[in-house]
């Protein structure tokens, strides 16, 4: 194991895939400048090893970053497109949803679209309405797409590898606050399979399902509740589509209580899908109805006191969990 930041681990993972397969390449804004990516140096140095044909520094042209990735995937390569932030990803929803997600299907399997699109999600302090959104539910809702949202450096590296090797288009969502967070990363290849959740806290009284940065907050929640004598199973989904139903069902059958926590706006969010699915399929195991927690349905405000109103904090999760445990 080696301790490194999420950004460094994912960059290592990308470099390893670039070395492994000459058909892998990356494109996006600022990839080969001294910035090496958005601001967390996710690509720094790669241009020196792999050159400008494989680390393509693009114009600010989101439609074409995404569209070119689709065309290049169809034409036999494995591009990793970086759209900087999920908010900018909206500029390329057409190419992702109308093209990447549909091509294999509407052309009757004549082609595959093996691409990865990186879109950073989540509130980063003071980033406000257009640089803070968590849009994972948009893409989970879109047939044809795989959606991953790793929450640790090891998962970030390992899931990027699986995403690159997959023949499906994969939306890879990384939380901006995680880029500089550190964690242990295995020294071996460390591939993390798509569709497999990880139980990060073992418990028997309550299941909390989450993903990305929120899974880390839920670990804190579990530790706090442990002080009250409550033992919590915390499941970090890691992949949102396809999500690991077996792991969640097994946990709920053990605990009888489910809380799904997401950073995104609660209304129409992915937590609702999990809570509903578990209610439909594990109803007899539930001691009380499943619950979810997500942000109020409002844009992310700027000033800290207001921004905090948007945040799904550990305190708010604990309050919801206690309400659930008392039911």
């Amino acid at each position: 194991m080696t301790e490194m930041t999420f950004a460094d681990a994912v960059r290592e993972g990308l470099a390893e895939e670039l070395r492994r397969d000459p058909l892998v390449w990356a494109l996006g804004e600022d990839l080969s400048t001294a910035h090496g990516g958005t601001s967390a140096n996710q690509y720094v140095g790669l241009i020196d090893e792999f050159g400008p044909k494989r680390i393509v520094n693009t114009p600010i042209s989101e439609n074409t970053i995404m569209g070119a990735a689709v065309g290049a995937a169809v034409a036999g390569t494995r591009p990793v497109a970086d759209l900087r932030m999920a908010d900018f990803g909206m500029c390329a929803v057409d190419e992702l949803v109308n093209q990447a997600a549909k091509i294999r299907y509407m052309f009757g399997g004549q082609a595959r679209v093996p691409l990865v699109v990186r879109q950073a999600i989540g509130v980063r302090k003071g980033a406000a309405a257009q640089h803070s959104q968590s849009t994972e539910a948009w893409y989970v809702h879109t047939p044809g797409l795989v959606v991953v949202a790793p929450g640790t450096p090891a998962d970030g590296r390992g899931l990027l590898k699986s995403a690159i090797r997959a023949d499906d288009p994969v939306v890879y969502m990384e939380h901006k606050d995680l880029w500089l967070a550190s964690g242990d990363v295995p020294d071996d290849e460390g591939v993390v399979p798509i569709g497999v959740a990880k139980t990060v806290r073992e418990g028997s009284d309550l299941t909390i399902v989450s993903w990305s940065k929120m899974a880390r907050l839920c670990e804190e929640v579990a530790d706090t509740l442990a002080g009250d004598g409550v033992s919590v199973d915390v499941i970090d989904l890691r992949t949102l589509w396809p999500w690991d139903k077996d792991a969640v069902y097994a946990s709920v059958c053990k605990t009888g209580r489910l809380l799904v926590a997401q950073e995104a706006v609660q209304v129409g969010g992915f937590a609702a899908e999990i809570a509903t699915d578990v209610t439909e399929n594990c109803f007899d195991a539930l001691k009380t109805h499943a619950r979810r927690i997500g942000a109020p349905r409002m844009p992310v405000p700027y000033a800290e006191p207001m921004e905090n109103e948007f945040r799904v904090t550990p305190e708010r999760i604990i309050a919801r969990a206690r309400e659930l445990l008392a039911a």
């Binding site: 042209s61 065309g71 169809v74 299907y105 052309f107």
Partner: protein, 340 residues
């Protein structure tokens, strides 16, 4: 359609006769498609290429099977010109087994990857962005091929048009952009919603070599395409071919064209490319009987394709669930017994 020899000279009667046959095949396909649409054998809508056949034909005559093309919503002609099998295409339009895309896409998503036809498209300008990506893949893989993207005049008002032209120039990609200017953006006269001097000027603004041609003159399109494609193939970077033509039919076949001045279609149809090509062939040594016979053979081939399509069965409903994705494919309805 691939050529044995890229250096084959244009304007040779034998070559033009082949282009004539391709144009007749496209015309017959489009006319019969409309008949079958009206008869209820084709669903959705069809966007016909009637009157514009010379462009796809003249351009694709200079491409190889290993070259890629990307099309727009009006993709039947591009597909046939690139070598797709009209019978498989008609099966696709009729939603039958044996369709080019397994009856998953229909007319607007016609595609035949086996001949490098990477798909028609329901979203304007997306062929441009995907086309530059395909060209980038060609460069990365080090293969000897080029990309041609067909767009209409209406698409020159979408943002991705500019992104893609800029992108192609920045990376010096092996790509030819073909703008088929048929005068109409759906039911709107394109000039009435377009500033500036037109597509050629817009392409030139990026420093891209751009040329204008009479798109109803297959000899001229073929000659210009031969020149530009040779330049692209030779490492000359992106080029732009602007072909003036006229959309004889409506935006879709059932479009009543209430927006079009009376008599305009008939007047412009006098200039349609197949009649012009036939006249040229006769002036260059062909017998009228040969011309008629070639045309009849094209219609006979398409009639046979229509008959074969009608004989083909509809796909098993459970195939609806196939080819969505490897990870997390759809779950079929359960009350009727599930799917394969």
């Amino acid at each position: 359609m691939s050529n044995e020899n890229d250096t084959q000279r244009t304007n040779e009667p034998a070559r033009i006769f082949e282009l004539y046959k391709t144009m007749c095949l496209i015309r017959a396909f489009e006319e019969r498609s409309e008949d079958e649409f009206d008869a209820g054998f084709i669903n959705g809508s069809i966007h016909q290429y009637i009157g514009e056949e010379a462009i796809g034909t003249g351009v694709c005559a200079n491409l190889r099977d290993t070259d890629y093309i990307l099309s727009n919503h009006r993709g039947h002609g591009h597909s046939i010109a690139k070598g797709a099998d009209p019978e498989s295409m008609m099966k696709e339009l009729m939603g039958r087994v044996g369709g080019t895309s397994g009856a998953k896409g229909g007319s607007m998503h016609i595609a035949d990857f086996s001949v490098g036809m990477l798909g028609a498209n329901g979203v304007l300008a997306d062929g441009l962005t995907m086309g530059v990506g395909a060209a980038q893949a060609i460069c990365l893989r080090g293969v000897d091929a080029i990309v041609t993207v067909f767009v209409g005049d209406g698409t020159t008002n979408r943002g991705p048009f500019y992104e893609a032209l800029n992108w192609a120039m920045v990376y010096e990609l092996p790509i030819l952009f073909v703008c088929e200017n048929n005068g109409y953006a759906s039911s709107t006269v394109t000039r009435s919603i377009t500033a500036g001097e037109g597509p050629v000027a817009r392409a030139k603004a990026f420093g891209m070599p751009a040329f204008d041609v009479d798109g109803n003159d297959v000899n001229a399109v073929d000659a210009l395409a031969a020149d530009l494609i040779a330049r692209v193939r030779g490492g000359g970077g992106p080029h732009f071919l602007h072909a003036r033509t006229y959309r004889v039919k409506g935006h879709i076949s059932r479009d009543k064209m209430l927006y079009r001045p009376e008599g305009e279609t008939e007047e412009r149809f006098k200039d349609e490319p197949i009649g012009r090509c036939a006249a040229w062939l006769i002036a260059n040594g062909f017998e009228e009987a040969e011309i008629v016979s070639a045309r009849d053979a094209a219609y006979a081939q398409i009639d046979a394709a229509v008959a074969a399509a009608k004989d083909a069965s509809f796909p098993n409903k459970n195939l609806a669930y196939a080819d969505v994705q490897d990870f997390g494919p759809p779950e079929p309805w359960q009350q009727d017994g599930g799917a394969a």
